[in-house]
Amino acid sequence: MASNQAEIIHRGEFSSREQEIISISDRVKGISLKAGLAALLILTMAFIALPVVALFLKSPLDKTLGSLYDPMVLDALSLSLMTSTLTTIVVVIMGTPIAYVSARFRYFGKELADSLIDLPVIMPPAVAGIALLVAFGRMGIVGHYLNAFGISIAFTTLAVIMAQVFVSSPFYIRQARTSFEDVDLAFENAARTLGASRVYTFFYVILPIAMNGLISGAIMAFARSLGEFGATIMFAGNFQGRTQTMPLAIYTAMQGDLDVSLCLAIILVAISFVVIVLVKTLTRRMYKNARN
């Protein structure tokens, strides 16, 4: 009897010790998982942040500010801002109805149309550039006829915008399509039964509800346009003041003056940052106003 009790006590002690070991090993596993995730996060952030920080560290402030007055920098800056803004406007005007139709309606060839819209995302920009050239260039299948009327698109500022629209439109349309899909059909139906036409419903109900997504899609398209390089250099060439956007100017300046190149790079980073902050603030304010 006594020996049985001792055995039970012994077993009890053993199992509690065993439980303690299991709980310690669980804790160690938990801690090592958290540490592993934290290390991964730090590594990823460092990988993204380090090159950006290096840009600022490698370019002395006085030289960077001095390069701001370089005609090449000023030309590239104004051309990039002008073309990217126009591109975003074109993409939004053209892409919004397309995205809405794609989100709400089924029609013959929809799969093909959707795939075609997404194609430029996968297509290498250089391929996009050469494709635009053989379509709209002087000897291109459309450009050939335009040339007969004295209209030449390739190697002009219009070509820069066309290249940017080609590569950046899917970024807007995809985001806008998702935003429209997320708008509950019941809102649309409710508006219609309350007397609103399709157009009124679109502008006063669907568009405001989807607005956040549309704005973020437009930012993506603007940012993609600002950074566009491959298609632009193939289709529009690299002419200062006419087709030389900032990425092209960075590439050109790297052959000679690295300071100019760094200055342009820093401006691009700054613009990207300002655009993100500005739009986020605007969106927040817009929603605050709507709430009041």
């Binding site: 509950d184 019941a186 409710a190 039964t193 036409s197 109900v205 709507a290």
Partner: protein, 234 residues
């Protein structure tokens, strides 16, 4: 008077309904999920098209496959309270209720008077500036009803109007809703799963089974059918 005689092919069966609802009367539509209740409301509202048949309201055809008449939802003058209430999330309560009047290009002063009247009657005037997302379920239901009633509809459609509320609120809202609907004096169709709704609000009731009317009569008839069910509702 609402007269319905429609047919529509659904995925698994045909929806085939023929019934009338007189002015000031409430018809309760009951039936299993997917039996075609909400589709019938959508056909009446013009949100979906029947394959054939006729829908007329006070003698005017809303849909007639023979003459090719098919009025769009905005021209039907129907008040529809959706199951989710579908209150516009980007608008205040005031703007939600004023929406139907604004689409009719009514003067701002007139809109204010009417919206105030409806919101005060529903006890919502104090919270008119709040967003629809920030109010309780019962208030949402009142807003949706006020929004549908302010356009002075000639027909009222309610899709499970109490299902989003908790049980305690349902009892109070059921009585209130019944009184409001009867005061309107227009034909009304209410989709429900709850036989207490039938007892409290219905003048007549209709049991739909796989798109066909299985039982149609006074609300009491459906209630007596319901009392024959066992505890599991079978």
């Amino acid at each position: 008077m609402l007269e319905i005689d429609v047919k529509k092919r659904l995925r698994d069966f045909d929806l085939q309904v023929k019934l009338d609802v007189a002015r000031g009367k409430t018809l309760m539509l009951v039936g299993d999920n997917g039996c075609g209740k909400t589709t019938l409301l959508n056909l009446l509202a013009g949100l979906a098209d029947p394959d054939e048949g006729r829908i007329s309201l006070d003698g005017r055809a809303l849909y007639d496959s023979e003459s090719g008449t098919n009025l769009p939802p905005e021209a039907r003058g129907i008040g529809y309270v959706f199951q989710s209430y579908a209150l516009f999330p980007h608008m205040s309560i005031y703007d939600n209720v004023a929406f139907g009047l604004r689409t009719r290009r009514m003067a701002a002063g007139e809109i204010k008077v009417l919206v105030k009247e409806h919101l005060e009657a529903a006890g919502l005037w104090e919270i008119r500036k709040a967003k629809a997302a920030d109010v309780s379920g019962g208030q949402k239901q009142r807003i949706a009803l006020a929004r549908a009633l302010i356009i002075e509809p000639r027909l009222l459609l309610l899709d499970e109007p109490l299902s989003a509320l908790d049980v305690r609120k349902q009892a109070a809202m059921r009585k209130e809703l019944g009184e409001t609907i009867h005061a309107c004096g227009v034909p009304c169709l209410i989709v429900t799963h709850d036989l207490r709704d039938v007892a409290c609000m219905g003048d007549q009731a209709c049991l739909l089974e796989r798109g066909k009317i299985a039982l149609h009569g006074g609300a009491e008839e459906i209630l007596s059918w319901g009392s024959g069910m066992d505890a599991r509702g079978e």
